[in-house]
């Protein structure tokens, strides 16, 4: 199962390095990490997707909170969220295949953003599953290049990051966090 963590961090030099270095040295398996600005200039927002079958998401959360520049972390996996990933896919296309590809693009409400004699660039946004199916459909035509942003997510409703939902530094109380596989005693 994949867990989505949202971290609000101080927008200072080196903070991304601190986060990346933490993941490396704790041997955390991270599926994706997206960083960007927020409504507050001093704060950046990181959306981190953790493969929870290999890495304990609660430990990732607690270790992020230990970084002095990390302001708040929330595991939004069980929250109602809008989660999006964006992909740009360059796919081989010739006169015969182009219209078929465009049909798929239409069905998935993706966009063609570049056309050349031998290829198309498709832009698609949505949850990962949607991107994945479109990718699978396009693969037989020949994918030349692809880039994805990784997941970004916002919790639905009017709450903002300062809201109570966020686990702030030090509030690890309810952390019942067996490390899966570490000692064969799954769960408690």
């Amino acid at each position: 199962m994949k867990h989505t963590l949202v971290a609000l961090v101080e927008n200072k030099p080196g903070v991304l390095n601190r986060v990346a270095s933490l993941f490396r040295r704790r041997n955390f398996n991270i599926v994706s990490l997206a960083v960007g600005e927020t409504e507050t200039p001093e704060v950046s927002r990181m959306t981190i997707v953790v493969d929870a079958s290999r890495t304990n998401a609660a430990l990732v959360e607690q270790n992020l909170l230990k970084l002095v520049n990390v302001i708040a972390v929330q595991d939004v996996t069980d929250e109602p969220v809008v989660a999006r990933d964006l992909a740009l896919i360059k796919v081989k296309a010739n006169r015969e295949t182009r219209s078929e590809i465009m049909q798929f693009v239409d069905i998935y409400r993706a966009k063609i953003v570049d056309v050349s004699a031998e290829s198309l660039i498709v832009e698609v946004t949505g949850p990962e599953a949607k991107l994945q199916t479109l990718l699978d459909l396009l693969r037989p035509f020949g994918i030349l290049e692809m880039v994805r942003t990784g997941r970004v997510a916002l919790v639905r409703g009017s709450g903002a990051y300062a809201g109570n939902g966020h686990r702030r530094n030090g509030n690890g109380e309810e952390a019942r966090t067996p490390v899966p596989g570490a000692d064969g005693r799954e769960g408690v």
Binding site: E10, G14, N17, N171, G172, E173, R185, G187
Partner: protein, 571 residues
């Protein structure tokens, strides 16, 4: 008041209460050193290697409960610090390191003596800073001390480019408490978790308390004692938890883990509830995790939320300061009737006593490290502070010196850094000038920090050095004996004549080769005002037992044989 960055550093240190620091100069920190001439209130100790500046700051911090400070130059000066920072990081010791850096404009150009110090030290510091404006310097130092000393303490490094040390700005030291958006250590535990924990404790039939370094750091010794006496629950300590409760206390089971006494490890493995406070279930105390605590529920109290559930599944996690949490839980726990449990432990304890080396007779010329530790404890009445290095002597000290006083042992637990004991004892002496301080160290470890003997003499520090000289890198030799078929590769060790060496430095030196010489030598050393070095020539091929082999369950120990040494020495 307009001051230079260099002056701001000293003014800020003064305001943080610093009167001594440990360091080594060089080009990139020279403006700051130059300004020190205006601050005679601050004593600078010139070390002989930067690693030892960090260890001294660390020893100072552990012995005083205050933040220790060290200062070095850029590049090699800063990289030499890293082992000391990592040692302090692993053992939650609050130090502040100030490093010079090449001028701002030169950063990134591979300038002479440039190293990416914030990059290099990132994983071994609690936090670090590269100061980019002289206007930020005072605030940065203020924050650094706050971060180093609060929450789970740790090393904080401030890298200061040389141009900022010369730049001028208005100096105003922040007087308000530090407020950082992402750093708010949680003082007390959640009342709900505490209530649940108390219920588990009151219902437990075979509980044990596992006390770690957090007890000493938070000053929770009174609360721990009160808890133990109120509930009647026995307590075992980690290596760094030693002396958080008097070891003579009938409910103190002593040190747990790889070289813990058998009755201690057996009690832990047999327990139905573990109440762990300020310890982190290091692999040296758990043994094989899959076989650890087969019957016990786990309550884990730690100031660091990321420790809870890291190694051992936790039934109740409580994030908070050890002292505060103990105060919260004390009114909720009840005295329990657990005489069956205590009798069971005492049976194991009696069986262990029979194997104790101290209760066996050996010829006078068979001098064993445990004899040295036992006599050191007996002759001094235990009224000393001890620093130990890493290896067999460290474990024997833990086993055979009885620590009844608080904060009595300073050792490198988490990182196991050889070369720690001597500089740490010097730092501790600055913190506790009236304490008698003994540095217990192997013949290998002392050779890692021997240049500091010159510092010792230059500073005229009255500390006593006990070299446990077994002619080997003993602990490694032990592993080779037990696990590598006695192939002693790279462990036999040639030493200088330590007595002559001491004398070369102007230190009184002695050699002890027999048991009957122990007490007179220790007494003489104590009577001498000034540093003394004693070369204790102990038997070469003895092993530390009990021992939980790597990968073994905690209760699966190689026991101390009934006649261990007699047979080994005869070989």
């Amino acid at each position: 008041m307009q001051l230079t960055g260099a002056e701001i550093i000293w003014e800020s240190l003064l305001r943080e209460g610093v009167d001594v620091l440990f360091g080594y100069p060089g080009g990139a920190i020279l403006p700051t050193y130059d300004a020190l001439s205006k601050y005679p209130q601050i004593h600078h100790v010139l070390v002989r290697h930067e690693q030892n500046a960090a260890h001294m700051a660390d020893g100072y911090a552990r012995a005083s409960g205050k933040v220790g400070v060290c200062m070095v130059t850029s590049g090699p000066g800063a990289t030499n610090l890293t082992t000391g920072l990592a040692t302090a990081m692993m053992d939650s010791s609050g130090i502040v390191a100030i490093t010079g850096q090449v001028p701002t404009k030169a950063i990134g150009s591979d300038a002479f003596q440039e190293t990416d110090v914030t990059g290099v030290t990132l994983p071994v510091t609690k936090h670090n800073y590269l100061v980019s404006r002289v206007e930020d310097l005072a605030q940065t130092i203020h924050e650094a001390f706050h971060i180093a000393r609060t929450g789970r303490p740790g090393p904080v490094l401030i890298d200061v480019p040389r141009d900022l040390q010369n730049a001028r700005t208005e100096f105003v030291y922040p007087t308000t408490p530090v407020r950082l958006p992402g750093y708010r250590p949680k003082p007390s535990g959640s009342p709900e978790q505490i209530r649940r924990a108390a219920a588990l404790i009151n219902a437990a039939k075979q509980p044990v308390v596992l006390a770690g370094h957090g007890i000493t750091i938070s000053g929770a010794q009174d609360e721990l004692l009160e808890f133990v006496e109120k509930t009647g629950i026995p307590v075992s300590t980690t290596l760094l938890g030693i002396s958080s409760i008097a070891e003579s206390h009938p409910l103190c089971l002593g040190m747990m883990g790889m070289h813990g006494e058998a009755y201690t490890n057996l009690a832990i493995q047999d327990s139905d509830l573990v109440f762990a406070i300020g310890m982190r279930f290091d692999d040296r105390v758990t043994g094989n995790l899959a076989k650890y605590l087969p019957h016990a529920d786990v309550i884990h109290v730690d100031i660091d939320a990321a420790e809870i559930g890291k190694n051992v599944p936790t039934d109740i996690g409580i994030v908070g300061d050890a002292k505060a949490v103990l105060q919260q839980i004390l009114p909720l726990v009840e005295p329990g009737e657990r005489s069956d449990w205590l009798n069971k432990i005492n049976e194991w304890r009696n069986e262990v006593r029979a194997r104790d080396i101290i209760h066996q007779e050996f010829p006078d010329d068979i001098l064993l490290a445990p004899h040295v530790m036992h006599e050191l404890w007996r002759v001094t009445g235990g009224a000393v502070l001890v620093t130990t290095d890493v290896g067999q002597h460290q474990m024997w000290e833990a086993q055979y010196f009885r620590h009844d006083r608080r904060n009595q042992l300073i050792t490198s637990g988490g990182l196991g850094t050889m070369g720690f004991a001597l500089p740490a004892c010097m730092g501790a002496k600055f913190a506790q000038p009236n304490e008698e301080i003994w540095c217990v160290v192997g013949d290998g470890g002392i050779q890692m920090s021997i240049p500091e003997l010159a510092t010792l003499v230059q500073e005229n520090l009255d500390v006593k050095i006990a070299i446990i000289n077994n002619g080997f890198l003993g602990m490694v030799r032990q592993w080779q004996e037990l696990m590598y078929d006695r192939r002693y590769i790279a462990t036999p060790l040639l030493q200088p004549d330590f007595v002559k060496l001491a004398e070369a430095y102007g230190i009184m030196g002695m050699r002890v080769t027999r048991q009957t010489e122990l007490a007179p030598a220790i007494t003489r050393a104590r009577a001498h005002r000034g540093p003394v070095l004693i070369d204790f020539r102990v038997e070469e091929d003895t092993n530390v037992f009990p021992m939980v082999g790597p990968g073994r369950a905690l209760h699966d120990m190689i026991r101390r044989p009934l006649h261990l040494v007699a047979t080994e020495a005869a070989q």
